[in-house]
């Protein structure tokens, strides 16, 4: 059973529709901004990436009743990306019928903290009954999938996965496997993440975010740059529609690419791996397993959409790709990272970046890896500077790889091919 991608949806700091997001990718337009709220709360990093959603746009997706006492940006972003992906795929949803061949796997990390916070204050004041009916659906981990389920009628598996920053890439692979196993024809897969101080605070406290250009977001050192010293936290959602080739052809759907295969694993928090750092051996094993699952050779990869967060660990990721693919110098494929334009969207990063990867595959370009005037010397020692475009490159792409790595020492790698 072959599996293809027939719909894309995105709600990112630099674009809340696929068309706006595509323009941002091509022009290297960043959505990272300074937030005075973070400054007043004494955050080291006062920059972040938050999608701008007007009240008007909310009402294109939600009814007035649904928006009553609604305070979950993770669900808001996930619904926008998910519904847009289904619309892009031209799949009719939201009718009277239960759609038993359509499933949903929308992952999440820490989610709906604003609603949770409001609920906790009420409970502590002895007013638990004032929570009403809106607390549970918004604060349960699977809230985003449950909202999308009601809006669409999806009646195959409807669930939420969670594997930190690997969540989005894992979701796509879980959906791929379900279709391949013949258990569904269409799967809406992706992930979402809230933003703001309550999501980002823990990372700020761990000193893994950047504090150097708080008043000049446009100057923040990007992924792979010599000056990269910490990530900028982001938020948003990405979603794709996966579909059996048979179903896609029968509908005459536009095909963005084929999912050739992939792999997920964990480093076991051994051999240098920990709660927060990856076991490099496991990263390489994951990439190699993805190639094997896809039945392709190491030299067939044209482009890599990296995890590359703009920390001092970026060169380690490049080394892992070099070792796994047995390629280096000028022989290395193109590689870039979206995080210079969106920040690190945490649980949403994998799915937003997969949407960016598929847009490049479909339109034959590689977007600029921004804010990287000087590439890190340890990276240059491994791969040619030409592999890291600082300006958009138009080039035919046939087979591409996307990997995400997350806290808990978890890895996910997916391979796409032009159909």
């Amino acid at each position: 059973m072959r599996v293809v991608i027939t719909g894309l949806g995105v709600c990112a700091p630099n674009g809340t529709s696929v068309s706006e997001f595509t323009e941002s990718l091509k022009n290297g337009r960043s959505g990272i901004a300074h937030f005075p709220e973070l400054e007043s709360l004494n955050f080291s990093c006062q920059l972040g990436g938050i999608p701008e959603i007007s009240e008007e746009k909310k009402r294109e997706y939600f009814t007035e009743l649904q928006l009553r006492n609604f305070d979950s940006n993770g669900i808001l972003y996930g619904v926008i990306a998910g519904m847009d992906a289904l619309k892009d795929a031209n799949i009719n949803v939201g009718g009277e019928e239960a759609l038993y061949e359509l499933g949903i796997i929308m992952g999440a990390g820490t989610t709906s903290v604003a609603k949770f916070r409001e609920s906790i204050y009420k409970i502590d004041e002895g007013k638990v009954r004032r929570l009403g009916s809106t607390s549970v659906p918004q604060t349960m981990a699977s809230g985003v999938s449950a909202y999308l389920g009601g809006m669409t009628g999806a009646a195959n598996m409807v669930t939420t996965n969670s594997s930190a920053c690997a969540t989005g890439t894992e979701a796509v692979l879980l959906g791929y496997e379900r279709i391949k196993a013949g258990k569904a024809s269409q799967m809406l897969c992706g992930s979402t993440s809230d933003g703001g101080p309550y999501i980002w605070g823990g990372f700020d406290a761990m000193k893994v975010t950047s504090y150097k250009h708080n008043q000049e977001p446009e100057k923040t050192a990007g992924p792979l740059s010599e000056a990269a010293s910490g990530f900028i936290p982001g938020s948003g959602a990405g979603a794709v529609v996966l579909e059996s080739l048979e179903s896609a052809l029968a509908r005459g759907a536009k095909i963005y690419g084929e999912v050739l295969g992939g792999a997920v694993n964990s480093g076991g928090q051994r051999n240098g791996g920990s709660m927060t750092a990856p076991n490099s051996e496991a990263v390489q094993k994951c990439i190699i397993a993805a190639l094997k699952d896809s039945n392709i050779n190491k030299n067939e990869i044209d482009y890599i959409n990296g995890h590359l967060t703009a920390t001092v660990k970026d060169p380690v990721e490049i080394e892992n790709w070099c070792l796994a693919l047995d390629r280096k110098g000028k022989d290395f494929p193109y590689i870039n990272s979206l995080k210079g334009m969106t920040g690190h969207c945490l649980a949403a990063s994998g799915s937003i970046e997969i949407v960016s990867a598929l847009l490049q595959l479909d339109n034959n370009f590689v977007f600029p890896n921004v804010n990287c005037d000087v590439i890190h010397n340890e990276v240059v020692a491994l791969v040619s500077e030409n592999c890291i475009p600082r300006k958009m490159v138009n080039t035919p792409l046939n087979i591409i790889a996307k990997a995400s790595f997350g806290f808990g020492d978890v890895n996910a790698c997916v391979i796409f091919k032009k159909y």
Partner: protein
């Protein structure tokens, strides 16, 4: 506050929770909120919270159990504000 005054204040609250395919004109003093007006039963607690705010009263668990129609709500409110 007369029965009519209370009822008039209740209608817009109930209207907020009507499903899209139920019109405001379906609301009568005796229509069953969940069975006839098709209000999601989970939303009944939200209706009550809005009523409490509007009339500055508090429904206890027994009040909630006896609440089926707008007339029930009127009776409960009259008892509380008497």
């Amino acid at each position: 506050m007369t029965t009519e005054d209370i009822y008039a204040k209740l209608v817009p609250i109930v209207k907020t929770y009507l499903p899209e395919d139920v019109n405001e004109s379906a609301i009568t003093p005796t229509s069953d909120l969940t069975r006839e007006l098709n209000i999601n039963s989970a939303h009944l607690v939200d209706v009550v919270l809005d009523v409490e705010d509007a009339f500055d009263v508090e429904f206890d668990n027994a009040d909630m159990e006896s609440l089926r129609t707008l007339n029930d709500a009127v009776a409960i409110i009259q008892k509380k504000i008497a």
